[in-house]
Chain length 103, copies 2
DNA sequence: AATACTAATCGTAATTTTACGATTTGAAAT
DNA sequence: ATTTCAAATCGTAAAATTACGATTAGTATT
């Protein structure tokens, strides 16, 4: 049907298609890790709604949750994050392999 | 509510959240321009469905249509395309300003 | 004026997304 | 054994997405 790359990219893009999910990921980028409760405080949404968005990010593979009862600690799934970045850079013709060039 | 950047990025990501829209954009990247009819031939979807997807890409600002009756020629909206690229690079910490460094 | 052609729009159905409150789960502390 | 707490799940409603066939619009051509 569609190309594998297109499907994977669309999948990641879908995960990024809601502002709260963008901001959750930004938070995890900065803080490296976060509890669900922290996000419920930060964002003006019900706890169940935040959980739902976290589940979607997890299903898309962008984050992973580590059980730490009664809390859950979330962080970025680095492998898939890197894949998403690579797919997007490829799509937009960004040569990210040179992005560390300092000259 | 949400940060302006997050909303814009989410908007662009949403446009990219369907495989056929990814492939339409790839086609436009390669061919630089395309008629609706070309895409109807390429993709296994009804003409009305393709039109719908083109409308979404147009609403998101990623493409623009030039009336050329009875045909319509679509191409990438370079300004918004650049913005989407910049927002994504910023989000993924890719320094795309250095992407042309050849050393 | 009538016809032909492309593409947009309309109407519709099925599915998915988004959001919420209420309930449940599962481990820790009392 | 109960209670407590965070987080997941359930049930549900409203809205949005995706897809299709049918119709309409608008320009060229005959």
């Amino acid at each position: 049907m569609y190309k594998k790359k297109s499907k994977r990219l669309a999948r990641y893009a879908k995960a990024l298609s809601h502002p709260v999910r963008i901001e959750i990921l930004k938070l995890l980028e900065n803080e490296s890790c976060c509890f669900t409760g922290d996000m419920v405080i930060v964002f003006p949404l019900a706890q169940s709604t935040i959980s739902q968005h976290l589940k979607e990010l997890k299903n898309a593979g962008l984050i992973q949750g580590e059980l730490n009862p009664p809390k859950t600690k979330y962080c970025i799934n680095q492998a898939n994050w890197a894949e998403a970045k690579a797919l997007l850079c490829d799509f937009f013709d960004v040569d990210f392999s040179k992005s560390t060039c300092s000259i």
